[in-house]
Amino acid sequence: MTATQAFLATLDDTLKTKINLAFTDNQSRQTWSNYPASTVARKGVALKDLSAAQRAAALAMMKVALSTAGYQQVLNIQKADDYLNSLGGDGADGFGNLVDYYVAVYGTPSATDPFMLQFGGHHLARNLTYNGTKVSETPQFVGSEPTSFTTGGQTVAPVKDESTAMFALFASLSDSEKASAKLSSGTYDDLMMGPTHDDGVFPASEGLTVTAAQKKLVLAAITPYVDDLADDAAAKLLAKYESELDSTKIAWANNTGPEDESSYLRIDGPSVWIEFINTRSRSTPNIHYHSVYRDKTNDYGSTNPS
């Protein structure tokens, strides 16, 4: 809250009108996408239109709101989008940490009344909704093209924690478990619950109900998504998902290998919804990751977001 107030305090009136929007503006709150900003216009202001000090305050706000891992992931995905941009090619010129990363604040930061932070770019969407002591970090979109790359002598793999745990979960299945977890409804080339699927309607549950032996791995797969949030709030969410594991299903389609074409993995509980796909690339030779984490009862901090 304090960090958000600090960020807002750095803005002049013109910027503030654009960045600080009404909490009741649900349509804007739900405007995030992995399409270029030229295709889907974002709310708020692009980072390039902020001064260095304002940008630093915006990032400081995200740093406070997120865990160390969650904040590092923001920086890594920004790097990945910059890297992608440096490769050029179809449409890649629209991406990059300044060009298509936008920030917006909905409502007045308050300890009692709801407010929301919206921050994201091509392969990242952070929607953090605060209402008193309750926090929602969904919908959350993370992705990376390529899945791993080297920049400045460092290897960066922004979605590594999530992908490793997800693939480990499905690698652990026996043949018969794998057969019952296989989705029968068709094939997938991207997420079902990506941007704009914000009306709270989810696909009918399909797949294999989590067995006692898998609980640990399922929880381990959910954790990197939930743990992006600053600690105390994340622990509460994890406890909720853990208590629901008995009625949580896992499912897959196409393939289950980390490098395979169109591997599609899903965790589907009474509250938690995680989809992960190896989607096709156009600027890089291999598949790349798209993943969305939603909470069926708490996206945008509401059971009835639209």
Binding site: A92, G186, S283
Partner: protein, 408 residues
């Protein structure tokens, strides 16, 4: 764009007027030109997704082999329905959309009910995460508006077919449509005004000079307006009755060109007495554009002629109103020394607007920066007429600006 599918209704909410032609990669697009009893359009299917949905290798070359094309047409047809409306699918060609090969079919829906529900699940029935953008525009005019996105949740979209309720129906509706169309068609009006600019003048050795009495000037106005009316009536009738068919895009570009020609003619006479011929010749072109709109009225055989007459009458009435609003001021202004400047200024504006339209319609430029100002002009016709009249009154009131009477 490395992303696969995803996205959707934000487009609906944010870009009610965005051209859906630039639909995100690897999605299907259905682009519809709507009318009350007949809806035509395109179905654009990404070939790489078609491969996955049909589970067979397909390329831009193989999909258009006659036997394969017929099979694919049957496939798309089997996944398309529209209630009581008849569905017809023809053609089949490969086109690049966002640099990705798409198979494009021509879709025709015909029916008599107001209610058109289009149900479509091509590719969708197999690729759960696929998305189908459905966009429409009334009678082939203006930009497409996204009317729905079909995905795993919904395979049906309501297609607007009715005209706005205020229009009513029958002859009067046709008149109103005619009035509105030319009233909003900045290009048609500008063409006419450019031709009227030199009406008070005479062409002498490739230049415009003052000359002619009021009777003669009036006669030339009548000639220009009649020639334009005759020209566009001929093609409007022929095209609306189905004897002639011309693609919209080249016609729109040629209309921009016609404005350019008439504006240049207002600067320097291209042919002596040329405005009458320009009006008649290019009037033929404008008629095709009017005909594209007639479809909007929902014609049955019995009402076609009535509608055609009504529509044309609406166009002529509006033209006469424009002439009545503009011409007296021009005639007065032509009796001041300021007229050469005013004429050149207006003609220059016309050249700029026409050039921008031409560039836009031949897709030399993606967006026309002058559309805003042009629309403003068209939306405030009486303000412009009043300004012109005011200028005429003010200038003629200054004695030294008045021109000497011409020797007879």
């Amino acid at each position: 764009m490395r992303i696969a599918v995803v996205i959707a209704c934000v487009l609906l909410a944010l870009f009610p007027g965005s051209p859906a032609a630039a639909h995100p990669m690897s999605t299907t697009a259905i682009l519809l030109d709507t009318g009350p009893s007949r809806v035509t359009g395109l179905v654009e299917l990404p070939i790489d997704r078609l491969e996955v949905a049909l589970d067979e290798p397909l390329t831009a070359t193989t999909v258009v082999q006659p036997a394969k094309l017929a099979e694919l047409r049957r496939y798309v047809l089997a996944h398309t329905s529209a209630g009581t409306w008849a569905v017809d699918l023809t053609g089949g060609r490969v086109a690049k959309v966002d640099n990705v090969d798409h198979l494009v079919f021509d879709l025709t829906l015909t029916g008599n009910t107001q209610d058109l529900q289009l149900t479509y699940d091509g590719i969708l029935h197999k690729i759960v995460s696929h998305q189908v953008f459905v966009a429409a525009r009334p009678a082939g005019h203006g930009d497409y508006t996204t009317i729905g996105i079909l995905d795993w949740r919904t395979h049906t979209v309501t297609v607007p077919t009715a005209r706005p309720a205020s229009t009513g129906s029958g002859f009067l509706a046709a008149v109103r449509l005619g009035v509105r169309h030319i009233g909003q068609g900045a290009d048609h009006l500008l063409f006419l005004i450019m031709l009227l600019l030199p009406a008070p003048l005479l062409a002498r050795r490739g230049r415009w000079v003052r000359g002619g009495d009021l009777r003669r000037q009036g006669l030339r106005v009548v000639h220009v307006v009649s020639a334009f009316a005759v020209g566009h009536s001929i093609t409007l009738a022929l095209a609306a009755l189905g004897y002639l068919s011309v693609p919209t895009r080249p016609v729109e570009a040629a209309i921009a060109l016609s404005v350019l020609v008439s504006a240049v003619h207002a600067v320097r006479p291209l042919v002596p007495g040329g405005e009458t011929w320009i009006a008649a010749g290019f009037g033929l072109l404008h008629g095709f554009a009017f005909a594209a709109l007639i479809n909007d009225l929902g014609l049955t055989r019995g009402s076609l002629v009535t509608n055609l007459l009504g529509f044309n009458l609406g166009i002529e009435l509006t033209q006469l109103i424009v002439v009545a609003l503009v011409m007296p001021s021009l005639l007065v202004l032509s009796r001041t020394r300021a007229y050469p400047g005013i004429r050149l200024g207006l003609a220059g504006t016309g050249i700029m607007l026409a050039g921008a339209w031409f560039a836009e319609r031949t897709t030399l430029i993606p967006a026309n920066p002058l559309n805003g100002p042009a629309d403003q002009l068209v939306e405030h016709p009486f303000v412009i007429a009043a300004l012109l009249a005011g200028a005429a009154g003010a200038l003629v009131a200054v004695p030294r600006l008045r021109t000497e009477p011409l020797p007879h």
